[in-house]
């Protein structure tokens, strides 16, 4: 009998708690985000956002390619509202398929035209350039210099020593490939890459993997974004040096966008606005990303885009024709 009373009591208690819940519920829904940043870094920004706005966030970390695949697969029933991070080429590619929802963020500065889609389908909240990262012990041992140009990468001393991401699995890999296309035109770029391929040790799935691998001596040279090179290589204490190709290099604009059919529209807008705030942009220091808000402070050692030779990178064309360029690469290189 006592047992029965206890059970009834428990049931009633649970029911009360369940019924009482809505009254104490916060005004905002929980924001669902797909983050194409590393878990640790994404968590760092998102925790700051939660603290600053009181909006709860749940996120999944994926490569930007994966995010695109998920958004497309889920287009009839989107699971997330915001796509946070990843090269704008990938955002452009997905936007071209009509899967993103334009939103012009409220900023206290003018967002340069290269930092957003014409209709604000995506918005760029940081930038970074493609660079080379080289193991200094390897250089010392072989008494050579770090590569200073794309042409240097073809030198025999780097035979089987270069690593980078597949252009079809990573925004980093694709930006490097797109840079060469834009510099030489597709046909010549393919010929050139066949030569480079002889010096490639292996391609990796993720864009940043080659940095620590160069640091560990698993390979000698990596091709990656400058901010990643600093945050995950030089800054971690690996024996690495960063250099940039003298012919000019490509760069990425890190994108944030709202997914079409987003369920938490208001929360998503607040999040995108927050990404451009001075508070958020100051956080990029920790991971050496270059902020787009002029008021934000830049990390020590980070290379500003104005310091290096950039090509006139056409992110829109490279984004829209990504499938074509990637297929051309795979057909020729065969990997």
């Amino acid at each position: 009998m006592k047992k029965k009373l206890l059970i009834i009591g428990l049931v009633l208690l649970t029911a009360t708690v369940l019924v009482a819940q809505p009254a104490t519920e916060k005004k905002y829904a929980t924001l669902q985000i797909y983050a194409a940043l590393d878990t640790e870094e994404a968590q760092y920004y998102i925790e700051a956002f939660e603290k600053s706005t009181g909006i709860k966030v749940e996120f999944v970390r994926m490569s930007s390619g994966e995010v695109g695949a998920r958004i497309e697969a889920e287009k009839n029933n989107p699971q997330a509202s915001v796509w946070f991070g990843g090269s704008n080429t990938d955002h452009i590619n997905v936007h071209a398929k009509g899967l993103l929802m334009p939103y012009k963020p409220k900023t206290d500065f003018e967002l340069a035209p290269m930092l957003h889609a014409d209709d604000y389908g995506w918005n760029g909240f940081y930038t970074g350039a493609i660079g080379f990262v080289t193991n200094t012990e390897f250089l010392k041992k072989n008494n050579i210099e770090a590569p200073q140009s794309w042409a240097d990468l073809l030198k025999p001393e780097f035979h089987g020593q270069i690593e980078m991401a597949y252009p079809y699995t990573s925004g980093t890999g694709y930006t490097a490939w797109a840079t060469i296309i834009q510099d030489k035109g597709l046909e010549k770029a393919l010929d050139w890459w066949e030569l480079l391929d002889k010096n490639i040790h292996q391609y990796t799935a993720s864009g940043t993997a080659c940095i620590a691998r160069a640091g560990l001596g698993e390979c000698a040279v990596g091709i990656a974004f400058s901010h990643d090179i600093i945050a995950k290589g030089v800054g971690m204490g690996y024996p690495l040096v960063m250099s940039f190709p003298s012919e000019g290099t490509g760069f990425e604009v890190g994108g944030v966008s709202m997914i079409k059919g987003a369920r938490q529209v208001e929360e998503a807008q607040i999040f995108i606005d927050w990404c451009f705030s001075e508070e958020a942009q100051n956080l990029f220091k920790k991971y050496s990303r270059l902020p787009v808000n002029p008021k934000a402070t830049v990390a020590e050692g980070a290379i500003k885009l104005s310091d290096i030779n950039l090509i006139d990178y056409d992110a829109v064309q490279m984004g829209q024709r990504k499938d074509e360029f990637v297929t051309a690469w795979r057909d020729r290189i065969g990997k």
Binding site: Y34, D38, V60, G68, N76, Y168, S170, L216, E218, V326
Partner: protein, 564 residues
């Protein structure tokens, strides 16, 4: 399973019995519904997607895939790797099984434990250890040349899957009555002759079956090649990259089907071989081999090989422990606990989710598996073979294929499943239950078939219905097998990666996915710390279940849970 020859009248009686038992009837319907939704439907979706372009039926995807070297080479790579791993793994497994069943080797218990240990960790932990040992920044840097590729994959998968062969073969060797060998020896046959004319022919179906099991596991392995494949591309990873990197569901599904075919063929070949029991000597209970003066030239090479393999296993796992305390792997070897702190900070949620979901999945899988085992081995009903086939199917289908099938099947409401499951915990729970169900069923069938059906028949004749009979008669007798199924399911849930990686979400994530993320960033020390935590949790759970089993199994034969 048991084919009783029976008359028409008996058959009619059976149908009558079924109708008289609505509980049984309804449960059969429910199980069929679940199997269709969570096993058949997702795999069907993969097939369908591979034959579709813009909503039309076409063979274009297959033409594309078969024409391009970069699609077709991974298929051959996967098969070559599978053949190598299966061959070496089966050899290692056989040597171990032989040493344990046929030699007076000392410390058999320890060897047994070491030989089965890799089963409680995800295979990619071995891959991680391989990098720590033989990578360019490793302890034995350069010793094996470039480990990113076929060499590394073969070593790692052999360590990870030789235990499968070992467990399959120890059963086979135990089933061969040693008195046969003794008789041959007494008649003057040499050791070599006994081996080649008695042991080998008798064990051959078992050896081939072990070979096929390892082959399937290697083909389906995802975590190891994800970390170690270098330029040696394999199919499971390529199918994943095709979908996640190229947004290409159609060709990703096509690659998945290419991966599916050899595994399913191997799986049913293996089942067919096992069903041919005629090879095994059934002369009462297997007696432990009486070992009389085994020649030194057999003994010592066998011992040496066991020692070497045991040493390699210990070396690999030891390396993970050592690596987890290093400040920055390869650069700063100061010992520190920082990795554990960092791992905990980032990994808390992953660990919590993995544990919670595995705890939900394990009992459901155990009960459902046992119940299906009971149905297919004790009950006659229409579609029984179909039930057996479909419930065993997920065991043969590589995780990558299942994962792709789940995202294709449950992203949108459908006829079978009126609500969307993507992003929920349900999709992960369902995936784990139906991935692990075959193990539970196999355990259950084996246990139930040891029970004489006449005991149950007596109960039914005395007026109890199927439910009561199952609860009061069958269940108590199969309890040890049930708990061993639980242990197995928990281990498999906690270490799952290949299918899970497709269905994790912001709300629900998995510890194995987190480890892979660390490895991706070359944060080997943190990856090692998290792997160790994972292994510790699994060992702890195994220990608890073993204690429970021993308590319940008092008076029954002693029972080791890992080995079922």
């Amino acid at each position: 399973m048991k084919q009783h020859s029976k008359s028409r009248i008996q058959q009619i009686n059976e149908i009558k019995k079924l109708i008289r038992e609505p509980f049984l009837f309804i449960s059969i319907l429910v199980i069929f519904y679940l199997l269709i939704v969570f096993v058949i439907f997702p795999i069907f979706q993969v097939f369908k997607t591979s034959f579709m372009v813009d909503g039309h039926f076409t063979l274009k995807n297959y033409r594309d895939v078969l024409r391009q070297s970069y699609y077709i080479r991974p298929l051959f790579n996967s098969i070559l790797l599978g053949v190598l791993v299966a061959t070496i793994g089966t050899f290692v497994g056989f040597v171990f099984a032989y040493a344990i069943t046929r030699t007076p080797m000392r410390g058999k218990g320890i060897f047994r434990l070491i030989a089965t240990f890799p089963m409680v960790s995800p295979p990619f932990v071995v891959a991680l250890a391989c990098i720590l040992l033989f990578g360019r920044a490793g302890i034995f840097a350069g010793l094996l040349g470039n480990i990113y590729g076929l060499t590394g994959l073969t070593i790692v998968e052999t360590i990870a899957y030789a235990p499968t062969a070992f467990l399959a073969l120890i059963g086979v060797l135990q089933a061969i009555d040693p008195s046969l060998e003794e008789a041959a020896m007494d008649c003057g046959a040499s050791r070599g002759k006994v081996f080649s004319t008695i042991i080998l022919p008798l064990a051959l179906p078992g050896i081939v079956s072990a070979w096929l099991l390892v082959f399937i596991q290697s083909l389906a392995d995802f975590g190891t090649p994800m970390i170690l494949s270098g330029n040696y591309q394999v199919l499971s990873v390529q199918a994943y990259l095709q979908i996640t990197g190229m947004f290409d569901l159609a060709r990703g599904s096509t690659l998945a089907i290419l991966l599916l075919l050899p595994t399913v063929i191997a799986f049913y070949l293996q089942k067919y071989l096992l069903s041919k029991k005629s090879y095994v000597t059934v002369t009462g209970k297997p007696t432990s081999a009486t070992i009389k003066n085994l020649e030194w030239y057999i003994k010592y090479p066998v011992y040496a090989m066991c020692l070497i393999f045991a040493f390699i296993v210990l070396l690999f796992y030891g390396m993970v422990v050592w690596g987890s305390f290093q400040k920055l792997w390869g650069v700063d070897s100061t010992l520190t606990l920082r990795n554990y702190v960092q791992m905990w900070k980032i990994g808390k949620k992953y660990i919590k989710d993995s544990l919670l979901l595995s705890f939900i999945v394990t009992p459901i899988t155990g009960v459902l598996g046992m119940f299906i085992a009971y149905l297919i081995s004790r009950k006659q009903f229409v579609g029984r073979n179909l039930m057996e086939f479909s419930s065993m199917l997920t065991f043969a289908v590589p995780g990558t294929v299942v994962g792709i099938g789940y995202i294709l099947a449950f992203n949108n409401p459908s006829f079978f499943m009126p609500v969307t499951l993507t992003g929920t915990s349900i999709i992960i729970i369902a995936l784990l239950i139906f991935r692990n169900l075959p193990v539970g069923i196999r355990n259950g069938v084996a246990a139930i078939e040891q029970i004489d059906p006449s005991i149950e028949e007596a109960s039914i004749d005395l007026g109890a219905d199927s439910g009561v009979t199952f609860r009061k008669v069958t269940l108590p007798m199969i309890t040890p097998a049930f708990f061993s199924g639980l242990a197995n399911c928990f281990v498999r849930s906690m270490t799952a990666i290949s299918a899970i990686i497709f269905v994790v979400s912001g709300r629900w994530n998995f510890i194995t996915v987190a480890v892979l993320g660390f490895v991706d960033n070359s944060q080997y020390a943190q990856a090692a710390a998290m792997s160790l935590l994972l292994i510790s949790i699994v060992l702890l759970a195994l220990g608890v279940i073993q204690i429970i089993t021993n308590r319940l199994g008092k008076g029954m034969q002693s029972f080791s849970i890992i080995e079922q």
